[in-house]
Amino acid sequence: MIATSLQKKLCMLGGFSVGKTSLIRRYVSSVFSDSYLTTVGVKIDKKTVDLDGRTVNLILWDLAGEDDLSSLRTSYLRGASGYLLVADGTRRSTLDVALSIQQRVETEFGPLPFALLLNKNDLKDQWTIADADVANLSLNGWWVRSSSARTGEGVEEAFRDLAIRVTG
């Protein structure tokens, strides 16, 4: 007899090379690699977490990044309980991509819980996203967090926050 446990599907969305796969590797395996390996299609990982005594399986769908030629395949989001939008703080254009993706997801799937991660916070000296942009998003009710897959800063907290919200 297989015991049933709570499972939630979470998706990682964002432009290419913003660090989605690295964030999951940091979260699931506590490792980071400087070598960039692009994701094709989707990569699925599983992480079991304890949320205040409840064991929850997070099924993490790491979707290929969006670029000029291939837009997000929203079909992968079917059945998702929430998602993390990821932007690269050193590339202002990736914030615009994240905003665009959020609008399309909300149009197709309704208001799912999500958070915006401004990744690569370890490269703060190369930051191109203005504080005013972040402040405006926060004013609109967005959960905006800084993160670094390289150092691990903000990674655990981001997944945990979202997991709590989707299991609420």
Binding site: I2, A3, L37, T38, G41, I44, K46, N57, I59
Partner: protein, 411 residues
């Protein structure tokens, strides 16, 4: 498939089932796994339990069941064992069927292509960012350069204005030095020559001579501490004070006892002298009726007196402190009789302390020697003295203001 020749159908089955590692799952309406087969081990699904909940065993099914669209495809899904599969969902006879076909090779090929494209794009983005930063830096540099040019032009303009002002001040200062005098004072014919050369545009040396009555010639030579504009103003003030005394009704008495004139000027200069500037000064009053020269030496270089027989004496008496140092300082005068043929030279330390490249001083002896044994007596003495000093400095910058007065009693 039944339309196909058996060989083709067999090959297709081979291609699909064996080479693409086909596997399937069957899930019933209760979301229980009721069937599974094919190359399940390829996808890490070897140990499935039929009749048990499907989602707990095949976690990628989370959220996808019950199926709301059929058939449905999730292309290129990488499972946790690294294998990539196309997941084909369809509904048939109450069961959801999931067919897995291995696409790892094509995924890897696509990844290589995609990787190169992204690398190029990232490079282009970095290049664009770098260009924008360079552009911004260039704009800032151009702005900074324009500010520097404007500041430089303003500084040049200000410098030019100051230069014009200094030139005007120099002209005015030189105008304070009187022209040579040739005439009779009392019963004696005499000449007075002067030189005044400032180390800068304006200087602190004071040269003056004037008559008080018909028989009293007053010579004044001063040297203000420091050089430049402040010294020039102090010099002009001292000059004005003596000229003011000369205009007084009691000028004759004042300058016949020149220590009185010196005391008055010292009192004026000492008041409010917060910058502690001072003036060394030699004032000499020559009485043409008695041939007596009465002088006061306020911290100044002793004058040189060359007699007609070419012996040179120094007038070292009547010493006192420089003007402006101490209000109420006492001053005394001393006197010496002159005869026709005598030459009196009063200099500032710009002459005696002129330095050559070895830091040696021109000194008093060279002045005395020139007066006693000058080779070309037809040439003006002060011109020769100045030429010797300049030659001694060997073309270097003049270190101090230079001033001198020559009084010569004609035979």
């Amino acid at each position: 498939m039944e339309d196909l020749p058996s060989s083709v159908a067999a090959r297709l089955r081979e291609l699909t089932y064996r080479e693409r590692a086909a596997a399937y799952l069957e899930v019933d309406a209760g979301i229980n796994l009721v069937g599974a087969g094919g190359h399940l081990d390829r996808y890490g699904l070897a140990n499935l339990c039929l009749g048990e909940p499907a989602v707990e065993q095949v976690f990628f099914l989370e959220g996808l069941l019950p199926l709301i669209e059929t058939p449905y495809l999730f292309p290129s899904v990488e499972l946790d064992n690294g294998c990539a599969a196309d997941l084909h969902f369809h509904l048939d006879d109450g069961s959801v069927w999931v067919i897995l076909l291995d696409v790892t090779d094509s995924r890897d090929a696509a990844r290589r292509m995609q990787q190169k494209a992204y690398d190029v794009t990232l490079l282009q983005e970095k290049e664009a960012l770098l260009n924008r930063r360079l552009e911004a830096a260039n704009v800032a540099l151009v702005a900074a350069q324009q500010e520097l040019v404007a500041a430089r032009d303003a500084a040049r303009e200000a410098l030019h204005r100051k230069q014009v002002e200094l030139d005007e001040a120099r002209t005015l200062q030189l105008a304070l030095a009187p022209p040579p005098y040739r005439g009779v004072v009392g019963r004696l014919a005499l000449t007075v020559d002067v030189i005044l050369e400032s180390a800068r545009e304006v200087g602190g040396d004071l040269v003056d001579h004037f008559l008080v009555d018909d028989d009293l010639l007053v010579l004044v030579l001063g040297d203000v501490s420091d050089k430049g504009a402040a010294a020039a103003l102090m010099m002009a003030r001292t000059h004005a004070l003596f000229r003011g005394l000369a205009a007084r009704p009691d000028a004759s008495a004042l300058f016949r006892s020149p220590e009185q004139a010196v005391q008055l000027v010292n009192a004026a200069l000492s008041q409010g002298n917060s910058s502690l500037m001072f003036v060394t000064l030699l004032i000499a009053a020559f009485d043409g009726k008695t041939s007596c020269l009465t002088y006061v030496r306020a911290g100044h270089v002793p004058p040189f007196l060359c007699r007609a027989d070419c012996t040179v004496d120094r007038l070292e008496a009547a010493g006192g402190v420089p003007l402006g140092v101490m209000d109420g300082a006492p001053y005394e005068s001393a006197s010496v009789d002159l005869v026709p043929g005598d030459e009196l030279v009063i200099v500032t330390d710009g002459i005696t302390e002129a330095m050559d490249r070895s830091q040696d001083l021109f000194g008093d002896n060279r002045v005395a020697a020139l007066m006693a044994r000058r080779p070309r007596r037809e040439e003006p003495l002060l011109d020769q003295l100045l030429a010797q000093v300049q030659a001694f400095e060997a073309g270097g910058p003049q270190s101090d203001d230079i001033a001198a007065i020559l009084l010569k009693l004609e035979n």
